[in-house]
Symmetry: C2
């Protein structure tokens, strides 16, 4: 195979050693720090001496899909097109789900590496990411959620439950992520792919604060699997799609700005449309509440008046118009509204109270989506050289792992 | 005694029942939330039903002295003058410590209440706050740190260790704060002051994250004393001087912008002066590293160039010139530099590496000072009425407790 590929304007060397990129969903850096402090994460602890410990910024909105796609394309959403789970199609007057690969506007490094001859494997926790991450990928690609349904034809592998040696996990569980790691180890022990991408789910991070028992147990589990991958000789890079913060008051009540309700009262019912791109089919653990919203303001409603009304609300950190948001956050302008709204660290944005089912929240809300969840880890079990002296991004990770290992 | 006093432009009713205001140093709201979740804080848990759970913003810089003084004067630093532990006196070319009451520009509600006939008691953890909080106060005022030295003449009470029934605590310990609460209970059981102000130290919060064992133990201790004060019939209001955040990467290494070093390299050694107003005689647990700095730019150095250089640094959230900072944060312009600099949530500002002794940091740095530590609890064991429909501040707490209890 040729030794270098070009994807979305960047050069990537093909892996010289088995390379595993892990996206730990919702991995606020403090989870790792406090697990190390608690003595339950010896692999992570070892990286200071024998590897590289860096940090980078994720894509805003700090949601799962935009960031996973940025990581595998090495590019921001302005290039790959996925800036949330939903956008509003004004012509069709419909909210459109973007979980399908036909909304992807750029090739992935994974598919390009496979095309150039590398063996590639992708394991995701939830199935919602599988078709996007596996777009045009010749290789192994399956989700823990639907591991029982994997076929050689569709997923490049079958009989996954037996091969991993674990039962099908519940979609709302720590087991879903553990299955991803167990499958990764199984693949490294058997097929030994040149390039592997593992993507977990933030079920634990939505429920457990850094350093608490439930979090430390999860990171101890992760540490054991990463240790095993390390022993198998893999180059490992770990980052996150986004961080995670408490979104509550001292009594655990969620701080929610019901933005549609506020704007309905101010500008008339339905005059403007608030869209929450965190909304997806799996909302039990966050009630579709994140720190990012986009607002569609039709002709005839004063855009500046709406902008100022939103910016004046307690709990709102930032309001940008479409162009400013597209520039600052590198978003595709045709898939965001006329305004982009980011709430403060402890606050989330909702539409109206009746449209958020909080009954699934059995612990106080922790969530993401805003600037406050932008800082994420960039960790490697190898020393890097010539690291660019600029703001790093989580979507630099494939370049750092493939081009900058000493 | 007359039923109402006027202090710094606000009216306060004199306490109709024994009233205890507690400033929990470094009390990020999540500490209380997670202690309640862990089941170790039944008093705090009860407040949702029987009391009031609110939140407010503290003063920026989110440091101890400016906020304690704001709480007891009911006014921002632009009124009371205390905007940090140090300011730079350009005429004298000296950094001046502001721990002394002669720097205080406004009377306290505590002193005014005492003058109007209320019996008032103040207990602080560290002695550095005692002279400021006790300014012109006729009543009881002592620190846990120097409880053994309290005399009737100077402190309105003597023999404190015997009365409290505890040995003198170490200044770097959770015991220092426990002594404050134990003294508060002792006073409520004996002198039963009309108005009491208790102010703790953030030794625990600098070392322990919310929800971890060390933090929950501290809040469980606090909860027991507050429960006892509640049983004794006190109206209790709890707030904080500031929140607290991790300031580290995934491996626990502090994220530090050494601002003096950067500006020395850029503009010449000593051309501008970076002052860290968090600096105080007690720096072991934070190494004088917080998320706020002020920069003095002499004539002849381009102020705009310095402003732009600082704003462009990774980890810097906000740079304001003197006037903008004085307006936005309600600070006394004569006691801040030409620029005010706030760093991002996970980053602190230092001067030069050799001027920060980090040897006392036995756990990864947690600190405060910035906008990221501005949200604090406002909790009461009574229902409130007619709460102002605006952004609340921690320094509203005396008005809320004295004027708004249902």
């Amino acid at each position: 195979m040729s030794s270098e590929i070009q994807v979305n304007g960047h050069a990537y060397r093909l892996p010289a050693q088995p390379t595993v990129i892990v996206c730990v969903d919702g991995c606020e850096q403090e989870y790792i720090n406090l697990a190390v402090q608690a003595g339950v994460a010896p692999f992570f602890a070892s990286l200071v001496q024998r590897g590289s410990v860096l940090a980078g910024d994720c894509v805003v909105p700090s949601f799962t899909n935009p960031n996973n796609l940025s990581i595998v394309t090495g590019a921001p959403p302005s290039v790959h097109g996925i800036c949330g789970n939903f956008f509003y199609d004004a012509d069709a007057d419909a909210e459109v789900l973007m979980n399908d690969a036909r909304y992807l506007r750029a090739p992935t490094v994974l598919a390009a590496a496979a095309r150039a001859g590398a063996s590639v494997a992708v394991v995701t926790a939830k199935d919602k990411l599988r078709s996007l991450l596996g777009h045009e990928l010749k290789g192994i690609c399956f989700s823990a959620e639907k591991a029982d349904q994997a076929t050689v034809q569709d997923n490049g592998i079958d009989d996954v439950l037996a091969k991993v040696g674990k039962p099908l996990p519940s979609v709302y569980s720590a087991d879903l992520s553990e299955f991803v790691f167990a499958a990764g180890v199984m693949l490294m022990e058997t097929a030994r792919p040149d390039l592997m991408y593992l993507s977990t789910t933030d079920y634990i991070q939505h429920k457990h604060a850094p350093g608490t028992a439930g979090a430390n147990e999860f990171y101890a589990m992760m540490d054991r699997y990463l240790q095993r991958l390390d022993e198998l000789g893999a180059l490992i890079g770990v980052t996150a799609d986004h961080g995670m913060n408490a979104k509550t008051d001292a009594a655990g009540k969620a701080n929610i700005v019901f933005l549609q309700q506020v704007l309905d009262q101010r500008f008339g019912a339905g005059a403007v449309r608030v869209l929450l791109p965190i909304t997806d089919p799996y909302v039990v653990h966050h009630g579709a509440l994140g720190s990012y919203a986009t607002v569609y303001v039709p002709e005839g409603v004063g855009r500046r008046a709406v902008h100022e009304a939103v910016a004046a609300l307690p709990g709102i950190e930032l309001v940008l118009d479409k162009q400013a948001a597209a520039e600052r956050f590198e978003l595709p302008p045709d898939r965001i509204g006329d305004l982009v709204v980011v709430s403060e660290r402890l606050t989330v944005i909702g539409t109206t109270p009746d449209r958020h089912d909080l009954s699934g929240l059995d612990v106080p809300l922790r969530s993401h989506g805003g600037l406050s969840e932008q800082a994420v880890p960039l960790l490697f079990n190898r020393k890097l050289r010539d690291v660019p002296q600029r703001r790093l991004r989580n979507f630099d990770i494939l370049r750092l792992a493939l081009n900058h290992v000493a």
